[in-house]
Amino acid sequence: MKGDMYFASASDEEILKRGEYGGAVTALLKFALESKVVDAVLGVRKRSGNNRYDGVLDLITDPEEVKECAGSLHCAPVNIARNIKEYLDGAKQMKIAVPCKPCDARAIVEIAKRKQIDRDNVLLVGLNCTGTLSPVSAKEMLISEYEVEPGDVVMEDIDEVDGTWKLTVTLSDGTKKEKDLEELEQKGYGRRENCRRCDVNIPRMADIACGKWGVKEGEKQSFIEVCSDTGTEFMDKAVESDAIKVEKPGGDTIAERKKKDEDAIELANKCKEEYLKELREMSLEDRLAYWMRYFDRCIKCFGCRDACPICYCKKCYLEPDRGYVPGGEVPPDRLFPFTRLAHVADSCVNCGQCQDACPAEIPLTRLYTMLNDELSPMFEYVPGMDVEAVPPLIAAKEEEETLIDDINLFLAKGGEGE
């Protein structure tokens, strides 16, 4: 049933040994393939050897190969939603199980509303997430701050230890090194900027949400919350066929998980406040100058558009033949960044892919999140949470037609206003 919670671990000995937290996710994915619940699993694995800093998506059909994807790669934030849409025909031809972070799940939900991905054909195995790291800065950080060889790292973990957030790395010989996350981030290392601001840690928009919060120290188990009817059916099957072993978690563990989630949200809000405070306090002139300076760095590579999981138009407004942005100009006409902003305004899921793709390092996600933050309370809409919720710019409620004449109906809800 939706809302059910389990402690789960793999029944398969090998997976149990290999998995970081009992291998429940790997076992579930393997089971999904074996039982033909899905035709393929879209996993992330290392491109080669033990290179944790270069992850590639892999469409797996052989159940045994699923094991290759065990373990999470914090330093390889892969663009899952865009790839499903672009290269797998939006999962319209086959059923795919997708292990994904909350932002990936949100992007998939958001683009499914626009009929680019068939939501019924993707089984979203959500993974709790407290942030990912950019590969290059992560390697730098490991060398200069942790004084370890990046290739020697076998596991990273971001978690709250006694009230402070720590980034812990585990080396191949089993030693652990931890550092204060907020201190690292003040030095410019640590998580990606959008991850610092992200307050969605448990992907409840997926079919099941798996994580380790609530699991007792040293226990090889994962905590799984069932989030949809598809998820319920799938979990029941998996338990029945003995792919995973489950226990019911006690009230204290559920409370502990909840507490961790709340603390993570608090940290996210603090970071968000820090980042946006400066911009919010600027005068309009200064704010415009701030963004114009960044926009002038644009080399018109179209990277942000091509990476964005929300963008999908076949005939893009940014192409010169649409008559908006003239061709052959660098930096491009200002309409280029403004069009991007207008087109993701209500739907940006703060995944940070545009910013990762940008060679000029324009903090695009900061701009998009700032606007999205204003629009969410206005339209009472949070992108990527519910596949049934219609994007606010293409929907109008019945009462708007008959009762309310106020032109500032939505602006008034936005808080500060003019």
Partner: protein, 154 residues
């Protein structure tokens, strides 16, 4: 802002305002204002559209980025849309556009939307007057090549 600069802005500055108006209401209201010989400043250039929901936020952005000082959108009162709900979508887009401009650092007061029915010639003239006054107060738009300094008193 210096006293002198302020004077330049309000005295010599004649704003250019682009108005996107609905064929069924606001455009007709403008017509009515004209045939009834109502007076309002001539700073607005109207573009007739079949519905206010035709106003893509990009129209507003392009207008401002190409140097206009203000943008006006006119549509039918809720419940009176020729296409039933077009104006409701327009209101949503308008709200989004205002916030977008504010986020990027452009004064959201440069964009205004009003419901003006075909019978409200008077309201059209009054709205134009008020809006043009306000834009004069705000001074030239951030992308107006004429800029603040170039407008010199006679």
């Amino acid at each position: 802002m210096g006293e002198e600069e302020r004077e330049i802005k309000t005295d010599g500055f004649e704003p250019k305002i682009i108005g996107f108006t609905c064929n069924w209401c606001t455009y007709a209201a403008a017509d009515l204002a004209g045939t009834s010989r109502m007076k309002y400043p001539a700073n607005i250039r109207l573009i007739r559209l079949m519905c206010s929901s035709r106003v893509d936020p990009l129209f507003v952005l392009k207008t401002l980025l190409r140097g206009a000082d203000g943008v006006f959108i006119g549509g039918c009162h809720p419940g009176e849309c020729h296409y039933i709900t077009g104006n409701l979508y327009a209101r949503r887009r308008y709200s989004m556009t205002k916030k977008l401009l504010e986020t990027a650092g452009i004064d959201p007061r440069r964009v205004r939307m009003e419901w003006i029915s075909a019978a409200e010639g008077l309201k059209f003239a009054a709205t134009m007057k008020g809006f043009i006054e306000e834009i004069k107060e705000l001074g030239p738009g951030p992308f107006n090549p004429a800029g603040t300094k170039k407008e010199v008193k006679e």
